[in-house]
Symmetry: C2
Subunit: 421 residues, 2 copies
């Protein structure tokens, strides 16, 4: 009996989202922006209700022995609620990609073809503790005319219920259907597995969170996925690298925010540059509290550094640890990156144009840099205004994803009775 | 032992394709076009070798009791081989999308960002009897700088071996790596299942063939898919439709080539138009050998027509059969299409601009038509020069896919030492 009720929650909410998506798709920019502002106002107004629900989640998390860093991700406060509302207001101010005519042409037989941007339909969002993703995802989807079906974690259920309840309530006062935003409250794994297979009701699933979560979705889903996440990023310091730029960028890319995907995990150093500036590099990293793990072949030269194992080359530390790989030339650096990288962000510090060209051509990554920190790979730094995530896949969207990543296209063909001969 | 050998064929060829993809990705347009012409010439030169291999496949197919229509798909002859070579020569003449700069901008901090088209990497092609897909897919991939790993059917193995052997041999005389084209000769299902999960070695899988094949790939694959295929397409004849256009288009969309995905399967007729012109429509379809299955609610009016069941609305006949649904208005037509359609191609015959607008806005399909046949949904009719297939998914590519569908993008960021503050 319980199972039947819960299955029907999944099915019913997916169908309601699909139905809402049909009317939502044709709403005007004004209607969507007004709704975003209404939701922002409602969040500010109902702040204490949100905090109360969040308190309940935090209480339970503590009882369950959740780590302090996870509790921090789960926690909301006045500043964080204000930030969610600000983000919605910012979204309302961005250009609406829906309806844009990307191309238009006429065929010799007189058919007139237009290629226009339309919403994808229903977006399935699968994520972990952070309740701000709930509002963030709902806002991005509403702005692009997509309904959203949210599947957050069990630990944030009370917070998510409050946030979605307030959002849906706010939508009833706007011209957007309330059913545009759905929350799956059944957080069991077997229900998630069915969620991943709702082809026809969900058009795309975006997993946001740990590698473990993302890999689970990839393994189980039959609905197409927008993969975001893993960043085993490298900085290659070439023989001709200016030492000030190299040190400056290495430090920034490693330490400015070590827990994010576009921070570097391995510094690849040209042997000749290492001889001249290696000590300065290691010294400046260590001063910043970074543990340096050195290439085994050079461990004799750096006896007080721990040695990097094969596993280190493949590890995304997301912490104040960096592996140091020594190479003879740019090609060896490229091979190392293409072997161990996750095709996210890769940077070369060099004054040799041919090496930079080679690096740009041969490194397989969403974003390649010359003489700059990998930390710029995100929607804000690229000037996109809003970001859904950073795609590490090659289909549909790659690198920082702005609002157009939440759209698809439609061909509108106008004729006067044309038939195929 | 056998299993180990066969597993290593899969792994080895996938790794070779990946390796080849790295050098192939940076080949110039001239190098790729020369290779396409070399393969075309080799196919013409080795025609008798191909026909001999194909004969062996046909012989075995006959012994195995394959149907005549499947044998026709499998069969090659001089005309078909010439058509394959022609297609490669045509590809050589098309513009190369690789390297195109789609956008370029500068950020306030001086970072210069370019968004350029690059190859996807390794394309996995899964298909059925037609051996011409082997050459077609190889050509499209080479033109776009992608390596291709082909998994054809057991019944075409000798033909595919000959075609791939000749292609690879021809590549040795060009500047493209021979390993750019790989054929999986182990056609067992369990090996296909491992093929579908070669994440990291294959970047995208394109299934071409029956719905059964496509659904199997969707269920099993963890590699991203470009879905092509199913077309349950509709023609809606509105109250204001001109009878000559409606009859003309209905006949063309149903009978010009009933076996293809962009042919129509259901004609939706406005009740008032039916009263005036229904007999003429049915008469003209029946004259063309089309079986008309009528909406149950109107079966009394057409006593000599078989009745359409619920199943008919969802069936892609790919044959000289059409279901006829009667509606009261455009909204009912749209609801029927969005319920039973496969989001492929949908057409409205109408002289009422508001109805056409509504149809264009609310019908969820890759291509919507006004007063034209659905048969135009393909790369040739759209003017794309070459076509990989017609995407029925919403991510990455939708509708007819030209060469750009086989590309992804890469951001090239040039700096002078910029770091994230």
């Amino acid at each position: 009996m319980n199972k039947i009720i819960e299955e029907s929650e999944l099915q019913r909410k997916a169908e309601n989202a699909r139905k809402a998506s049909r009317t939502l798709a044709v709403k005007t920019t004004r209607q969507k922006n007004e709704a975003l502002l209404a939701v922002a106002a409602a969040l500010r107004k109902h702040q204490s209700e949100i905090l109360q629900a969040n308190d309940a989640d935090i209480e339970e998390a503590k009882i369950n022995g959740m780590t302090a860093s996870l509790i921090d991700r789960l926690m909301l406060n006045e500043t964080r609620i204000a930030a969610m509302a600000d983000a919605l207001e910012n979204l309302a101010g961005l250009p609406d990609p829906i309806g844009d005519c990307l191309e238009a042409w006429e065929r010799p037989n007189g058919l007139h073809i237009q290629k226009v941007r339309v919403p994808i339909g229903v977006v399935g969002m699968v994520y972990e503790a952070r309740p701000n993703v709930t509002v963030d995802a709902a806002g991005l989807c509403l702005k692009t005319g997509n309904a959203v079906f949210l599947r957050g974690s069990r630990s944030a259920l009370a917070s998510n219920r409050a946030l979605v309840g307030i959002t849906r309530q706010a939508l009833t006062g706007t011209e957007l259907p309330e059913d545009s935003v759905q929350l799956l409250e059944d957080t069991r794994h077997e229900t998630a597995d069915r969620f991943f297979k709702l082809n026809g009701l969900i058009d795309v699933i975006i997993p946001r969170g740990s590698q473990n979560l993302i890999q689970t979705v990839i393994r189980q889903a039959t609905v197409p996925i927008l993969e975001t996440g893993a960043g085993n990023c490298h900085l290659f310091i070439d023989e001709s690298a200016k030492p000030d730029i190299a040190l400056h960028v290495a430090l920034n890319a490693k330490t400015q925010r070590p827990s994010v995907c576009n921070a570097i995990e391995t510094i690849i150093v040209h042997e000749k540059w290492l001889t001249r500036h290696g000590d300065a590099l290691i010294e400046s990293l260590r001063k910043a509290g970074v543990e340096c793990r050195i290439d085994r072949a050079f461990s004799a030269q750096f006896p007080d550094l721990p040695v990097a194992s094969e596993e280190d080359w493949a590890t995304e530390y997301l912490d104040r640890i960096v592996a140091i790989k020594i190479v003879q030339n740019v090609d060896e650096a490229i091979r190392h990156i293409n072997r161990y990288g996750t095709k996210h962000s890769e940077s070369i510090i060099s004054e040799t144009p041919e090496h930079i060209d080679r690096f740009f051509q041969y490194v397989d990554a969403s974003t390649v840099y010359q003489n700059a920190s990998t930390r710029f790979t995100d929607g804000e730094a690229f000037g996109f205004g809003a970001e859904i995530g950073i795609s590490t896949q090659k289909l549909h969207a790659r690198g920082p994803m702005g609002l157009p990543a939440l759209t698809t296209i439609k061909y509108l063909v106008k004729g006067t009775g044309q038939i195929r001969e």
